[in-house]
């Protein structure tokens, strides 16, 4: 009897479970498969994101009021103002810290809302099929072609001005940003819906919402995570773009509005790089960090990518192993 099948047919309790694991056992699967594999890319990405998040979260505790106006006007970085001041003498570092927090907040809000919307329309549509599916996918396709720019103004108009701020812009960005993801989710759900384990759950008597939440959703997690990350990047970038056009989150401070004020204050023309560069750099670094994290998520969604990623690293190691294997072959 081949030893590696010992467990398969051994009477209960006698097999020592671990020794008899089939060769595939070391492959990752289940919940652990949902975690990205560690790689330098992921490390750098997480590092950037965490650093910027901390910067935005606890930074405000250490800097002063970003709105404090000083008569010194525009000054380059100095010991007192590490990143200099704006034309109204406001401390750029303090502004940057608050703006980062504002942008993160918008990114997070949009990420959550857009992902929720796309999950709602994509997964439910995909699972329910039939008319609901047709209607949902038509709706998402229409949403895909609606221009977002005027929606910003329209939706802002419905929110009382004194309650307006990053929320409003986040809602708009979410509303205009979920559709593409929903299409992807729908396709994925359609394929998961046909899986036997979904059928098995139904045979076991599970309710539809439970099938969706417990059987289907977890397997969509990497995809959802990737879409979340993506919509956070997109939200921060779009918010900056809208702000540049003067349509942004005007009553809250974000990196976009900061850039907008820098631009309006002729920061670039005055070569006040300390005012213009940092917000862009923070956005770029944050987006880049998220993109790097997304690389790892991509590898979960499409395991073939992982193989490609591993090649190089393993190749270096291969030299050492060859020796060992050939020796054991000879034996």
């Amino acid at each position: 009897m081949p030893p590696d099948r010992a467990l398969e047919e051994s009477p209960p309790g006698t097999g020592d479970g671990t020794a008899a694991l089939p060769p595939t056992a070391r492959r990752r699967g289940g919940r652990r498969a949902l975690l990205p594999t560690w790689s330098p890319k992921l490390g750098i990405g997480l590092g950037l994101v965490v650093a910027i998040a901390l910067f935005g979260l606890i930074g405000p505790l250490f800097t002063g009021d970003p709105d404090t106006i000083r008569n010194i006007g525009l000054t380059p970085p100095s010991g007192e103002h590490l990143l200099g001041t704006t034309q109204t003498g406001q401390d750029v570092l303090a502004q940057l810290v608050h703006a980062t927090r504002g942008s993160l907040q918008i990114g997070l809000l949009v990420g959550v809302m857009a992902t929720a919307l796309s999950a709602l329309f994509g997964i439910i549509g995909g699972y329910a099929g039939g008319f609901a599916d047709e209607a949902f996918s038509l709706f998402s396709n229409v949403m895909l072609v609606i221009p977002g720019l005027p929606l910003v103004i329209v939706i802002s108009g419905f929110v009382p001005a004194d309650q307006r701020g990053s929320w409003t812009i986040a809602v708009v960005l979410a509303i205009t940003g979920w559709a593409a993801a929903a299409r992807v989710l729908r396709a994925q759900t359609l394929s998961l819906r046909g899986r036997d384990y979904v059928a098995a759950a139904r045979v076991a008597g599970e309710k539809p919402w439970r099938v969706i939440c417990v059987e289907i959703l977890p397997n969509l997690l990497p995809l959802l995570a990737s879409q979340f990350v993506f919509s956070v990047i997109a939200a921060i970038l779009n918010e900056a773009g809208l702000s540049f056009l003067g349509l942004g989150a005007s009553n809250s401070s974000t990196l976009g509005t900061m850039l907008y004020f820098a631009q309006n204050g002729f920061a670039l023309q005055r070569e006040a790089w300390w005012w213009f560069a940092p917000p862009g750099v923070v956005i770029a670094a944050f987006g880049c960090g998220l993109a790097l994290i997304n690389f790892s998520l991509d590898e979960i969604i499409n395991p073939r990518l992982r193989e490609a990623g591993r090649r190089r690293r393993a190749a270096a190691k291969a030299g050492r192993d060859t020796e060992r294997v050939t020796r054991s072959t000879a034996a």
């Binding site: 009897m1 099948r5 051994s10 060769p23 090649r311 393993a314 190691k317 192993d321 294997v325 072959t329």
Partner: protein, 307 residues
């Protein structure tokens, strides 16, 4: 180009003339450089004779495909042939050390002398290119001198050989049934009149009835064209019926290598016996299986497995 199809060669394997080898594999080792490394093929030695059908049996993951790919050097990283040799004995007399071929030589060798048929024909055919284009690809690459007309005719000819109407040439793979796709793959493998054809589970995904039809086709073509076949499957009864000799693989090693008849009647290795017993015979004695009788009362592993 009709002389591409050699006149039916003698069938040495079954006859009395001493067998002439077309492919020799000696002490082949293949390792997957993963973490930890997998030693997928261990010291395998095989000889494939001209016109013979060699069955390669073994359960999933024992290294059958790895062996087959190694012969054609299809492996990419992380697979690596660590030692051994594969020699091709050409009809014209020359020997080719396949593992030593340079890239361009290897490219020329592939398909011209040794062709392959893979398991899933749907995925083995490019879904977005028509069947004809995929057939002609081979000819334009390996027979650059051929005219369009000749190419067209050659494709039609091989399709006819495998029993597919030539006008289906213009179809795309998904427009063909599974059986037809597999036939197209075989037709493609015949295009250059190779001396060896490696078939890696060519019928596993097919319906029993279709499978039968294809197997019959392979035998017929082999008899007519005289190529040798390496037939890989885990379906031992099928091999017993089909092949001349059988090699049984277990965890990368060949544990038994003999004529089909011997393996069927007098299996020596316990694993071969296990394998044989895994397939209840259709027409044999029903009592041979454990369903009824005292033995069936317990499904103690030893008994369940021992057959």
């Amino acid at each position: 180009m009709t002389n591409d199809i050699a006149p039916a060669a003698a069938r040495p394997a079954a006859g009395n003339t001493p067998p002439e080898a077309v492919l020799t594999v000696r002490d082949l080792n293949v390792v997957y450089r993963t973490d930890p490394p997998v030693h997928a093929v261990k010291d395998v030695s095989l000889t494939l004779n001209r016109g013979e059908i060699l069955g390669l049996a073994g359960e999933s993951g024992c290294g059958k495909s790895t062996l087959a790919y190694a012969v054609n050097r299809l492996h990419e990283w992380p697979a690596e042939v660590t030692s051994g040799s594969v020699t091709f004995h050409d009809r014209d007399g020359g020997d080719l050390d396949l593992l030593a071929l340079r890239d361009e030589e290897l490219r020329r060798f592939r398909w011209a002398k040794l062709s392959m048929v893979f398991q899933g024909a749907m995925s083995a055919l490019n879904p977005v290119i028509s069947v004809r284009a995929q057939l002609e690809d081979v000819l334009t690459t390996h027979r650059p001198g051929m005219s369009r007309q000749e190419r067209r005719e050659r494709c039609a000819e091989v399709l006819r050989l495998v029993g597919v109407e030539p006008r289906r040439m213009h179809s795309f793979p998904h427009e063909l049934s599974g059986g037809m796709r597999q036939r197209v793959m075989i037709a493609m493998a015949l295009l250059l009149d190779p001396q060896v054809m490696i078939m890696d589970e060519p019928t596993t995904a097919l319906d029993v009835l279709v499978q039968r039809g294809i197997l019959r086709e392979i035998l017929r073509l082999r008899d007519r064209l005289g190529f040798a076949v390496v037939f890989i499957t885990h379906d031992l009864p099928l091999l017993l019926e089909l092949s001349d000799r059988i090699a049984v693989m277990l965890r990368g090693e060949i544990v038994e290598y003999d004529t089909a008849e011997t393996i069927h009647r007098r299996p020596r290795h316990p694993y071969t016996r296990t394998l044989l017993d895994s397939f209840p015979s259709l027409t044999g004695d029903r009592g041979a299986f454990l369903r009824t009788g005292a033995a069936a009362r317990s499904d103690a592993p030893g008994e369940e497995d021992a057959r």
